[in-house]
């Protein structure tokens, strides 16, 4: 809460301050990484061409782009299949994480009981559960992958939400007491809105985890069609360019999830600083 700051500008101003406020301005912050990226790609292509590196060691960006373009429909289908699992896992994991965090915040005993269990879930390499889950739900179903993604999502959402629910400022707590507000009124008007930005921070962290988990889970079995399966099958049939094209698809899918979550987070936390 910055008592001293006098900002009386329009409503749109607050979101930007601190983001692009650095020395270089927007042109430099956007241009610099783009230039670096172009330089890396050129260097990569140059090295592959000049040193005649074999495609099974490292295919050039041109080959990958070529394969990506030629198999656009397949890559898109793979992104759709994996993205669907990731999204379902993200939704289930988020709902569970938020609900259990609210319960834990309300009932201290539950929090103390849940803490070691959630910590245990956090350190388990969740994708390692995939083979077990495939035998449980059958190799023909996507359930195991969605389950893995949901578990991976649950942990950061739970911890961030719980932290957010504990951020209520003492002055707000006093205020609600002075209003003789009921527990539910205080939760609705102060606790939940205070926690909301934390929930979305958890969601942002979870968004890329969901994609990674859903994709890696495919390596351990289950139906074909997803990005993970496509990467392994292309690589095993020595089609390295295509394998890398699917990797490119995975990166795009991860970016898509992350950016979507980031935008939502920015929108939600605009008004939580004051």
């Amino acid at each position: 809460m910055s008592q001293a700051s006098v900002r009386q500008g329009g409503a749109g101003q607050t979101g930007q301050t601190g983001q692009t406020g650095q020395a270089g301005g927007p042109v430099r912050t956007v241009l610099a990484p783009v230039l670096l990226g172009v330089a890396v790609v050129l260097l990569w292509q140059g090295a592959v061409t000049l040193l005649a590196i074999k495609p099974f060691i490292l295919p050039g960006p041109l080959t990958i782009a070529d394969q990506f373009g030629a198999n656009l429909q397949n890559v898109a289908n793979g992104m759709l299949a994996t993205g669907r699992n990731a999204l379902i896992g993200l939704l289930i994991g988020t709902v569970l994480g938020v609900l259990l965090a609210i319960l834990a915040a309300l009932v201290r005993l539950l929090d103390e009981m849940a803490a070691p269990i959630v910590a245990a879930i956090a350190v388990v390499p969740i994708v390692a559960l995939a083979p077990v889950l495939y035998t449980m739900y059958g190799a023909g179903a996507e359930t195991a992958r969605q389950f893995v993604a949901a578990l991976a999502v649950f942990v950061p959402v739970y911890f961030n939400t719980l932290k957010g629910l504990r951020q209520v400022r003492p002055v707000h707590r006093d205020l609600m007491r002075s209003y003789a507000a009921s527990n539910w009124q205080a939760t609705r008007t102060v606790t939940l809105p205070t926690a909301l930005p934390f929930v979305f921070t958890g969601l942002r962290i979870a968004s890329s985890l969901a994609v990674i988990s859903a994709l890696i889970a495919e390596y351990f079995g289950g139906p074909v069609g997803g990005l993970g399966k496509s990467i392994t099958s292309s690589a095993s049939s020595s089609n390295y360019g295509l394998a890398w094209a699917y990797v490119l698809g995975s990166i795009l899918l991860g970016l898509l999830f992350y950016s979507a979550a980031l935008i939502v987070e920015k929108l939600v936390s605009r008004r939580s600083g004051g």
């Binding site: 809460m1 910055s2 008592q3 001293a4 700051s5 006098v6 900002r7 009386q8 500008g9 409503a11 101003q13 607050t14 400022r169 002055v171 707000h172 006093d174 205020l175 007491r177 002075s178 209003y179 003789a180 507000a181 009124q185 008007t189 102060v190 809105p193 008004r271 939580s272 600083g273 004051g274």
Partner: protein, 285 residues
């Protein structure tokens, strides 16, 4: 030490106890510390506030002035003693919303507009949408923020935020205002302007005020009575009646007034000097 000039006592309407805005009797508050050590924040304090009276609590850090305010507001309960607000126990008065409160931090909800923040208590207590709107607009006008009704707290200066907090504390037209260093975080110029406004607002609403402050001129400028507290344990050292006229009639010129300086130095002596003989811990009436 006696007050420089006596002002007429407000006439009691009915029974003595019921007519008091605040009646604090023999209140102590002991905070249990670690390893059995305890801190006595307040030690058998007695204080009364008449309806419409402006009373400041002043004293060094740790004298329990904020604790006393929190006890009156029923944000905390006394270890011993009794507090009545408008003749009711403090808890009942809180439930009945007999007071409005403002803290050192404005404590606005950052996700609500100025108008939304002022409407908050009305909303919690079930006022209708139209009634809320109308009351908020009235209060925003009162604190001079009409152009900022739709702004969010982070778009306002500290002084403006505090004005919103004061408007919010007035939302349900309470007959008692509790203020815990509301201008403590403001610069001197903003502070004096806010004091002038508070004097005007008090005259318009005729609410009793209990005002906690660190600032001697602030206490003298605003108050009918200044209660000087001493620390460790928190006790009332003396109560000084300030005869500088009706609260509402006080203006910028008063700050230059001879009498004003006189009272300021009296309070300063009480705060820094030795405790005066007699009248220790009791209210001189």
């Amino acid at each position: 030490m006696s007050a420089p000039e006596a002002i007429p006592e407000p006439a009691p309407v009915h029974g003595k106890a019921a007519s008091l805005a605040v009646d604090v009797r023999g209140v102590s508050r002991v905070f249990a510390g670690r390893k059995g050590a305890s801190v006595t924040a307040l030690d058998s304090v007695g204080l009364t506030v008449e309806p419409g009276e402006f009373v400041s609590l002043i004293g060094p850090s740790g004298c329990g002035k904020s604790t006393l305010l929190r006890l009156i507001a029923d944000l905390d309960t006394p270890t011993t003693g009794e507090i009545r607000v408008f003749g009711k126990p403090a808890r009942q008065a809180r439930i009945d919303q007999d007071y409005g409160i403002a803290f050192q931090q404005a404590g606005l909800l950052p996700w609500r507009t100025v108008s939304g923040n002022i409407e908050l208590p009305l909303e919690l207590h079930g006022a209708g949408r139209a009634a809320r709107r109308a009351r908020a607009a009235e209060l925003i006008e009162l604190v001079g923020l009409s152009e900022f009704a739709g702004h969010y707290p982070d778009q306002l200066s500290g002084g403006m935020q505090q004005r919103v907090a004061i408007a919010r504390s007035l939302a349900e037209s309470p007959s008692l205002l509790l203020m815990d260093e509301p201008f403590g975080a403001l610069d001197e110029m903003t502070r004096e302007r806010m004091q002038n406004e508070l004097v005007r607002i008090c005259a318009e609403t005729s609410a009793a005020v209990v005002f906690v402050t660190h600032s001697i001129p602030e206490a003298v400028f605003l108050s009918n009575r200044v209660v000087v507290l001493e620390p460790r344990p928190g006790r009332i050292r003396d109560v000084l009646r300030v005869g500088l006229g009706e609260t509402g009639a006080r203006g910028e010129t008063l700050r230059e007034d001879e009498e004003f300086f006189h009272v300021v130095s009296q309070v300063r002596e009480l705060l820094h000097g030795e405790a005066p003989a007699g009248a220790r811990g009791v209210e001189a009436r």
